[in-house]
């Protein structure tokens, strides 16, 4: 991997082609959206054009300055985010503006995270503040939610409402990967187990079953990546404990809510309401959809968040829905490639855990609303409306990119150059 000679080259034909295709797709999306509006909303036009310009600026910056190895990974993320943006634009221009701001925040998170984790010293320095900070965030969330008696996994901060558990997902993988990075440090192993149990425990108290399940799954993945001899035993025990709590604590909830699983049509107007609507409207859309804004699923509660896959199928067709699924499969392939070429096991663990989390959450969402899995009410990464989910998705993407192609600025920096050498030498710092 000889980065130094290639990075200064002009963008290659392939990358320009991909970018042009994505831009055309989004431009057509914009035309489709505004053609349905009675009076053309200029704000909608600005949102789409702004997004396309943002993509081009980022890609130029990326390709010219920071290396283009994982260009396709970012292109996929832009493609998926663009679909979410389009759905928001069909609901209303204010939704589109909010969503665009969220995507910008997501991209910012992505860049900041790439900068932070390029240096293992920074990573090590950040592990305690990150762990403690994330637990505090969950505690504050729980405390405030109890006071306001609102939905327990939301935190209202003036006009902005955030979902702390989404942000903690990013930190969780960070803490997990850094704790288990060193083979010999038993202390970190115990700390990580304690941290995981605390996170899952707090999610139990918030009754956020879907997210608790995702954390549990991610814990298993991180544990699997690092398991060996004695620590395997501890990790298995911790996993079993979490699983047991999960089952016991959520049993009544699970029994009630999962009663409709595989029987949604018999419970069309109760527990199967959302799934049956997703299925009937997805089927109505056929392979190519009824047209943006033409769907009826949008009138169903949570259509643009949990049920957004159904909206995509109804309005843009099953073909687009499947393209979304394939896009996530591609993210998985990039993660494997990145992990296998990564400089240290921190990056490998983080990349694999991130991709697994994204795919797991995607499966819970897509196969949940289509009744292939029980419905858990989690969002579709990158696409569902809502800032926390988007920021989390982009944050997770940073781990994959960091493993494959570390973010590097053109200015000469001792830490970077040493890092690059050690990478090429295949020895961890």
């Amino acid at each position: 991997m000889c980065l130094s000679t290639k990075t200064k080259q002009q963008p290659e034909f392939r990358q320009v082609t991909v970018m042009v295709l994505i831009s055309i797709f989004q431009f057509l999306s914009m035309l489709a959206v505004i053609s349905k509006q009675e009076e053309t909303s200029m704000n909608t036009v600005y949102v789409f054009l702004g997004y396309i310009v943002l993509e081009w600026i980022y890609m130029m910056f990326n390709v010219i300055i920071t290396g283009k190895d994982y260009f396709e990974l970012e292109a996929i993320a832009f493609f998926l985010s663009g679909i979410g943006l389009m759905v928001c634009a069909t609901i209303g221009e204010s939704y589109a503006i909010k969503q665009l701001i969220c995507i910008c925040l997501g991209l910012l998170t992505y860049l900041v995270l790439l900068l932070l984790i390029k240096d293992m010293r920074v990573v090590n320095a950040l592990k305690y503040p990150a762990a403690i900070g994330s637990l505090l965030l969950l505690v504050v969330n729980l405390a405030l939610a109890k006071v306001t008696n609102g939905a327990r996994n939301w935190l209202e901060l003036g006009p902005v409402s955030i979902q702390p558990s989404e942000l903690v997902k990013v930190v969780f993988i960070f803490v997990g990967a850094v704790s288990l990075e060193r083979l010999l440090s038993k202390k970190y192993l115990y700390l990580f187990i304690g941290y995981s149990l605390s996170c899952v425990g707090l999610l139990f108290l918030m009754r956020d079953f879907g997210t608790a399940l995702i954390f549990f799954f991610t814990f298993i993945i991180i544990a699997y990546m690092r398991s060996g001899d004695v620590r395997t035993l501890f990790l298995i025990c911790a996993g079993a404990l979490m699983g047991a709590i999960l089952i016991i604590y959520f049993k009544p909830y699970v029994a009630n809510r999962f009663a409709a699983y595989r029987h949604v049509w018999e419970n069309m107007d109760t527990n199967g309401y959302q799934q049956t609507r997703v299925l009937m409207y997805s089927a109505s859309g056929g392979l190519f959809g009824l047209g943006v804004g033409e769907g009826k699923l949008r009138n169903v509660f949570a259509a643009s968040t949990d049920l957004i896959f159904g909206m995509i199928c109804e309005e843009m067709g099953l073909a687009t829905g499947i393209a979304v699924l394939i896009a996530f499969a591609c993210i998985g392939i990039f993660a494997i490639k990145a992990a296998k070429g990564s400089a240290s096991s921190f990056y490998a663990i983080a990349a694999v855990a991130s991709a697994s989390l994204l795919i797991f959450q995607l499966s819970l969402n897509v196969f949940g609303v289509t009744d292939l899995l029980p419905l858990t009410g989690v969002t579709l990464p990158f696409i569902s409306r809502g800032g926390s989910s988007i920021i989390c998705s982009w944050g997770l993407l940073a781990y994959i990119r960091a493993a494959g192609a570390p973010f590097k600025l053109p200015a000469p920096d001792i830490a970077v150059s040493r890092k690059t050498r050690s990478r090429n030498g295949g020895v961890a710092v």
Binding site: M280, A283, S284, G317, L325, A335, S342, A348, L372, A428
Partner: protein, 456 residues
């Protein structure tokens, strides 16, 4: 470190799970998409459970029986016409489950895997369903019933096309009676008697008994039967409709002599009779193309000879489905092949390109069919009188089904033997009194319409 990196391959497992999910999802869309998309909760098609947007339903001559205009379902003009095709077209809420609105909702919605219901969405029209029915014949038949209830079906026995089918009582979809659910006059109004009805057959059941005798008694044509008004068995008596004296097998069918047929039944025995009936589709779940038929039931008594005798002349516990029995008549008319009556001419996106497949419902020995045909012809020539059915050259069997506590049902089943009028008919008129006059005259009225207006 190396071990950890190797384990990155675990992500392949999750990728495979996505691909498996995609596969299952696609296969479910292929197999169930049509029923999902046409669910009553789909607001593209239904509004509070009633059809608003769908393709047109037409009769064979292009008369529009139902169509969608501005998110509303509009029906044919003419109250009698609407009533006469009610059970074929069906209501927009799907109460009439065998009506086209419910049974062919997927075709009406224009649904297909590739486009979904895009056509419906963009044009407000799905794809059309064209019935084999002549709506004018239906209107004439409905009027011919007068105030009586019942059903008549006319079917082309060479092509299986159902040309006329009504079920009474019916109501006007444009003016639904408020007491529809409570008024006893509308009892069973959502049931299409042509396909979902069950009737005591009365004397037309003697055709089945005759078929059994022809196939199991080689000497039946040489025999004579003596009728003195009643036939005594070991445990009861079967009463005849007259005193017929000494008669042959053929005359027994002409006169519909209960004594002769009860005697034949007892001699043949319950098992042989049941075998003949079941070979013709009794006690079986049958489908007339897409329409499930109510089962025809025949369970002759193996204990009581009197009950067995009554079963052999179409009383006792025997029940027949009109469409199924029509197919038996069609088998007699068509050299042993009784087709499944088919109401649909074309439907769906590719309906005009692919002709409908003809299904066989009843198989009969061709020799039995031919023997029954000449006996039925003799019924008309020697007993009922050809003059009653001018020009039709009918082969027929009439019947009167006695029902406890009610006036008898008048029954008529037959077909024209003219090769240019290959029509079979079955008609039940409820509470029409003793004799087969009403069913016979309704059938004649409808068949005359076809004889005058069609060149088959």
């Amino acid at each position: 470190m190396r071990k950890t990196i190797k384990r990155a391959s675990v992500v392949y497992v999750f990728i495979l799970m996505i691909l498996a999910g995609v596969g299952i999802l696609i296969s479910q869309f292929v197999t169930k998409g049509s029923s999902w998309a046409t669910n009553k909760a789909n607001a593209h098609i239904y509004s509070s459970g009633t059809v608003v947007n769908a393709g047109r339903i037409l009769d064979r001559n292009g008369v529009v029986l139902a169509e969608s205009k501005n998110d509303k379902r509009v029906f044919a003009s003419g109250e009698v016409l609407r009533k006469s095709v009610l059970h074929l077209v069906g209501d927009t809420s799907g109460f009439i489950s065998t009506g086209a609105h419910n049974l062919y909702r997927s075709q009406l919605s224009g649904y297909n895997l590739i486009d979904g219901i895009y056509r419906l969405k963009t044009s407000g029209k799905g794809s059309d369903v064209v019935l084999n029915i002549d709506s004018e014949a239906n209107r004439i038949a409905y009027n011919a019933f007068g105030n009586y209830k019942g059903t008549i079906i006319v079917c082309n026995y060479k092509t299986a096309e159902v040309l006329c089918s009504i079920s009474k009582p019916a109501y006007d979809v444009n003016n639904v009676p408020r007491d529809l659910q409570t008024n006893p006059n509308y009892e069973g109004v959502f049931l299409d008697k042509a396909v979902s009805g069950q009737y005591t057959p009365g004397s037309i059941m003697k055709l089945i008994t005759a078929a059994c005798a022809i196939e199991n008694m080689p000497d039946v044509y040489d025999r004579t039967f003596t009728c003195d008004g009643e036939y005594k068995t070991t445990d009861g008596t079967v009463i005849c409709n007259g005193v017929h004296g000494e008669i042959t097998f053929g005359q027994a069918l002409n006169q519909s002599c209960n004594c002769a047929f009860a005697q034949l039944t007892v001699e043949l025995g319950a098992n042989k009779l049941r075998a003949t009936a079941e070979a013709m589709g009794f006690n079986k779940k049958l489908k007339a193309k897409e329409i499930p038929l109510t089962m025809s039931r025949f369970n002759p008594s193996t204990i009581s000879n009197a009950e067995l005798g009554w079963a052999g002349i179409g009383q006792s516990t025997t029940l027949i489905n009109p469409s199924h029995f029509l197919s038996i008549i069609m088998a007699i008319a068509n050299g042993g092949k009784g087709y499944a009556p088919d109401r649909i001419l074309t439907m769906g996106t590719y309906g005009r390109l692919v002709p409908r497949k003809i299904d066989v419902m009843v198989n009969m020995n061709p020799e039995t069919a031919s023997a029954l045909k000449s006996m039925m012809r003799s019924n008309v020539v020697d007993k009922y009188g050809d003059y009653k059915y001018p020009g039709l050259e009918l082969c027929a069997k009439t019947g009167t089904a006695e029902i406890d506590g009610k006036t008898s049902t008048s029954v008529f089943a037959g077909f024209s033997q003219r090769s240019d009028l290959p029509l079979a008919v079955i008609c039940f008129v409820e509470e029409a009194g003793w004799g087969s006059g009403v069913a016979s005259s309704v059938s004649n009225t409808v068949l005359q319409y076809f004889a005058n207006n069609y060149d088959f």
